[in-house]
Point group: C2
Chain length 216, copies 2
């Protein structure tokens, strides 16, 4: 997943670069143009594009519009991406109305919780619904992506529930490793560990402890 | 930073394992014991420990208490880790009272914002203070760790400000690459990208697009 993030980040860079090229009036680009713009080699660019079935040719290069269209499909930019959140606690609530998601064409369509005090239905904000409504909601709205923002002890049970309902990709904020059948991909975000990584660095700064990067 | 996270995760596993060994009454452990418990090789364990100046010996192994003490120092578990948050928006507010941090001995001591509507001072919760108070606060409380949770356009300016105030490690939630002098380490968490990674997977599932992991 870590390695893939590098790859997907590169696809986003290609897409941003292609939009800039298009704005300049370019109809075709060469792998060299893109390589320079995103900081990759031209053979890497060709390899990336051939992976998803687009090939250029030495004389003609790639058609800018074709590449943008294909990248839009791959990155899910061709349509709004509907996502549910499970757990309307602090992190879940923050994500429900997170502006950065909106900018990327991601819409949180509903949140689910077991605590009736958190239920609310609103036209403007994201509704928080009872957890038992989740399976029908996911099926009715054809939702494939979910965010788990529940305490660690509840996370595995929630994962089982949402995968059974049809969710195929999960962003998991619970600091626990979840087990799933193969048809669902999980990306773990452990905010405690992210902060502890920084703490480690600051504690070892200037103390003569070698950078782990250099030797591991 | 990615590679280091693997290393630091392993240090946490050693520490957890050592506490379990200690609970069983063990005074000494061998690299083989730890290797088995954390899923590493014994030479990896010895290398990790020698990196921070602890060496065992073939007959005696390592002293459990010594290892725990050293790991506590390195991981910042020997004392409460004080952290500030800049930006009291959705993500910042969620992090201010995030239970997972508390469990790890991390305390968010204050948040800072430029919006007077967000200022508040409370005994129980984390106070939100005016940004201009930050430099003095950081110096007075000897704080080295900060979280940036401001919009991307403001993030670089905030980084400059907090590094000048004495912050040496930053967890950055703004979806932008920040530049800093060498004395400060930055760990970027891009939640949009984390979610987009999942969207990419789900969009390519079953469409015959090779897993990027296998070939990049």
């Amino acid at each position: 997943m870590r390695q893939n993030r590098v790859y997907i980040t590169r696809l986003h860079k290609y897409r941003n670069t292609l939009f800039r090229f298009k704005a300049l009036g370019l109809v075709r680009v060469f792998s060299d143009n893109l390589a320079d713009a995103v900081g990759a080699t031209s053979s890497q660019v060709r390899k990336d594009f051939s992976l998803f079935g687009i090939s250029g040719n030495k004389r003609g290069g790639y058609l800018v519009d074709d590449l943008i269209k294909r990248l839009d499909e791959l990155l899910g930019k061709d349509k709004e991406q509907k996502v549910i959140v499970v757990g309307a606690g602090k992190i879940g609530t923050a994500l429900m109305n997170y502006k950065v998601f909106e900018k990327e064409g991601i819409r949180i369509v509903a949140a689910f919780d077991t605590d009736p005090a958190k239920f609310c239905q609103s036209r403007e904000d994201v509704s928080v619904l009872p957890l038992e409504n989740l399976p029908v909601f996911v099926k009715d709205h054809d939702i494939k992506i979910g965010i788990i923002a529940v305490p660690d002890f509840a996370a595995q049970q929630i994962l089982n529930l949402i995968v059974a309902a049809g969710i195929r990709g999960v962003l998991n904020f619970a600091p626990i490793r979840l087990k799933t059948a193969e048809e669902c991909v999980i990306n773990n975000v452990n905010l405690g560990l992210e902060l502890e990584t920084i703490i480690y660095y600051v504690n070892t700064l200037g103390k003569g402890i070698p950078d782990a990067n250099s030797d591991i």
